[in-house]
Amino acid sequence: MAIFVVMILVLVFRLWSMQIVHGQEYTDKAAINRLREATTIAPRGRILDRNGIELVTNRTSMVVLAPISALEDDALIERLATHLMITEEDVRERIGSVKDAPLDLRVVGIDVPMDTISYIAENQALFPDIQVAARAVRTYPQAALASQVLGYAGLISEADMERELFENYHSGDIVGKSGAELAFETVLQGVRGRQLIEVDAQGKPQAVVQDDPPQAGQDVMLTLDAELQGATEQILAQTVAAGIESGLKTAGAAAVVLDVKTGEVLAMASYPTYDPEVFVGGITQKDWEKLTDEKLNYPLINRAIGASYPPASTFKAFVGLGALDASIVTTQTQTTCVGGWTKLGQWDQKNCWIYPGSHGTMDMHSAVAQSCNYYFYDIGYAFEENTDEGLQKYLESWGYGSVLGIDLPGEVSGRIPTAEWKNEWNVLNPEFNIGAWVPGDGVHLAIGQGDVLTTPLQLASTYAGIAYKGKVLRPHVLKAVLDSNGDAALTIEPEVVFEPSVTPENLAWMREYLRAVVTEGTAYGGFSGFGTAISGKTGTAEYTGTKKDDTAWFVGFAPSEDPQFCVAVVVEQGGAGGRTATPATRSIFGAIFHESTTFSLGTDRSR
């Protein structure tokens, strides 16, 4: 009797252990058994310009979808390849590349012509389990406009999946890869539709337990003005073309237009550009190679934030302010320019750009207006003699050498060279030893040459700082995030990122000098006859020892009396600043103030 009681007790105890003690674990396992999740992609939010013009939106594309089980059917793969006019390897790649989410369908063909869609839909016997559907894909109503700022979206990659930003993403998601698409990914991305499907042991769906429809992503309004952006891009293209025509090796160019009082980016152009449409539905290898070909000057790079150049004479505004701030000079200090500067010895003569000519007696007003190197060599020398890298520290206080934190990916910091940096460079690059810091480096820095590098955005933002209150605002391209009614759910307030040491008096002086550049100095010819008062500075960065043409700069703001807009233009291998960058800037200001200007290269060889 005891045997039976014990036997039954053992069984009951086991039941109790499994059902009462561990019941929840088994219930979870049963749920894993029977429930499968299938999701559908939500349409991404649109990207609009500041006036609500669509820059990026979605269009409906006919796609062909296949389940992962299609991989086992060789004949089916062959038929798909034939009708979609792609190779069998491509078909297999597209179906098999996504490893998880076994119930989600894979996109095999995108933008499939209607007759192919109909054929597949009508011949289900030939295409078992293959579905045709309309999917929302990215489209660009303004074509290539602002392509580097907008960026592109694409299928999430395995590397993306490991990033924190994409923590809860599914494979198969369309995500921002660059530009605004990446920067505002979290709002642009909608919420995937989610279906909980009950399946049987064979995986056949039995019932839909839960069905949450997809929620579209939020629309994003940028600070860009589509019209101005278009004009800016066109002017850059015109400038490069004219530069090449005039015998220069002009390659690329960039321009930034900022709202001085808010830091809003009104236009940000980079030449060459690309057509973002090539990324829709996955870029082909051929197109990708084209976009990354050195000969085509890397159109994917946003040169306004992602490339840095020696600022050349545009730097004189900050060097001048630094000298005034450090009391190295006063606004009255005079120096006589004799062309060749030899304070570091006859063997180390540094020339003013006017050499073998000379500027004669200069104060800071005329030195900025005429872009006299000699005057600034003296300032650089004085900083070297009297301070411990005081010039570098001052320039860094304006944000040079660090990123401004614009709300776009890919911003580079540029570089302010120091003794420490040179030593580090030599350790890291022993094959390109540039030697220790010498006083001549500081002298070069004072005219924005040598190892110093800045981005067009840094120059635009810092000149906007001179134009406004001596404070550097964080530049931004996001104006607002819109809710489903089109109302702003989030707006951006101006934010000061750098507060350099500068008195209002010195700031006023410098604004006067920069105005003089246009009224009497190096940009006099370039802006003669222009209706709005412009202040600014030319710049010409030399590449000594290479066959490259000089980098041309113009950075300026207008109207001079109450600055609203700041424009920075850089033209790679554009020759002297007055030759290419100044006329480009004039045209951009023309677009801003609706003044008709005819574009013509400058003849000015001044720097």
């Binding site: 039976f4 069984l11 009951v12 059902q19 396992k29 029977r34 399946v199």
Partner: protein, 430 residues
Amino acid sequence: MALFRYDIRRNVNFTLVIAVAALLVVGTTIILSATSAMEDASSFLYRQIIGIAIGLVLMVCFWLFDYRNFADMIVPLWIVNLFLILAPRIPGLGSTAGGSERWLAIGGRHLFQPSEPAKLVTILLFAAIVARYEGEIPDLLSFIKLFAISLIPAVLIMLIPDLGTGLVFVAISLGILWVGGAHSRTMILLILVGLLCVIGFVFTEINYSKTNDGDGRVLKEYQLNRLIVFVDPDVDPQGAGYNLEQSMISIGSGEFSGKGLGSGSQTTGNFLPERHTDFIFAVLGEEMGFMGGLLLMGLYLALLMACLSICASSIDLFGSLIATGIMSMWAFQILENAGMTMGLMPITGIPLPFMSYGSSFLVTSLACVGVLLSIWRRRNYQSPIKGVDDDETSAQSSRNPGIREKTRATKNNSGPRRSSPRPHASFLYR
């Protein structure tokens, strides 16, 4: 009929009948639920009810038939037994299912699985043989002889091959031998030696399959895999471990009150294999939960207790041994079947009494109930079991002179028997 001349309580063991009736109701309900998602679902219920009907007819036949007649039928029982066991191997009669020849078929039509009725026949046969020792197996040699004889049907069944059913035969033999007078020490020794042999055998098999690609192995691939996954069900959940894994998920996810009849996701979603036959307990566990399991276990305990009571009150040793054999068979099948669904026992294909779909064992079990009732009806009223009225003894004896005569008659054929009450029920207190 003479049967109903007396108080019906004397002829019917109500605990047994009510337990069996309740088990049949629960079993039929669960089968209905388990098969609801299958094609041709109603045919399962239909065939199960036909099985119950045939079983009930046989039960009444055995009830009315005096079981003591079987004591003199050793030779016919041997013949019937060997026929039933060997029938599936006879060309034209055997039929294959699940990789082994388990069915008796005529013209390709499956009739029944002869190994199931062979269980009852073996119980009767072995009880008759052991009863001749009058409750005292004198020496080890006799014990070994008896055990060897009992192994004949078991080994023949295992060669079909049907390991699980073979083990049922071993359990029957051990039960009858124990009650039939084997020394406890001998029994314990035998069980220990048996266990050691089995463990050694399994390890040799596993080694063989690892080293020689299975050459020289006795067990079939699936049998060995079942043993391996019994040790570790996670080895290959989609392969051999799948059944066990799904069965355990079904039972565990039933939790306290179950998911409701017909609402088990494991059952309706087809995750649980063999759910109307070998894994019917998992369906009950999933859909009726711990409460259902407790109910079933309670019914089985009542069934076995009824068997014990019948065994103890039997008028002769033969009846006690038959009851013991039936009890051993059911107990072993309950332990093995319910145990395997919960990972306590290796997986074999033996049915859960009165629950699993399949007429062969159902009819056999109901016939067993008939035999048990036959023993009960002719019981000794001086039962040591509490609650049986001792005063009735004299009345019963005088009213049933035929039974006494029969007892005396068999005495001459099968040697002296002790008269009742006798201490053969002493095992109850072991």
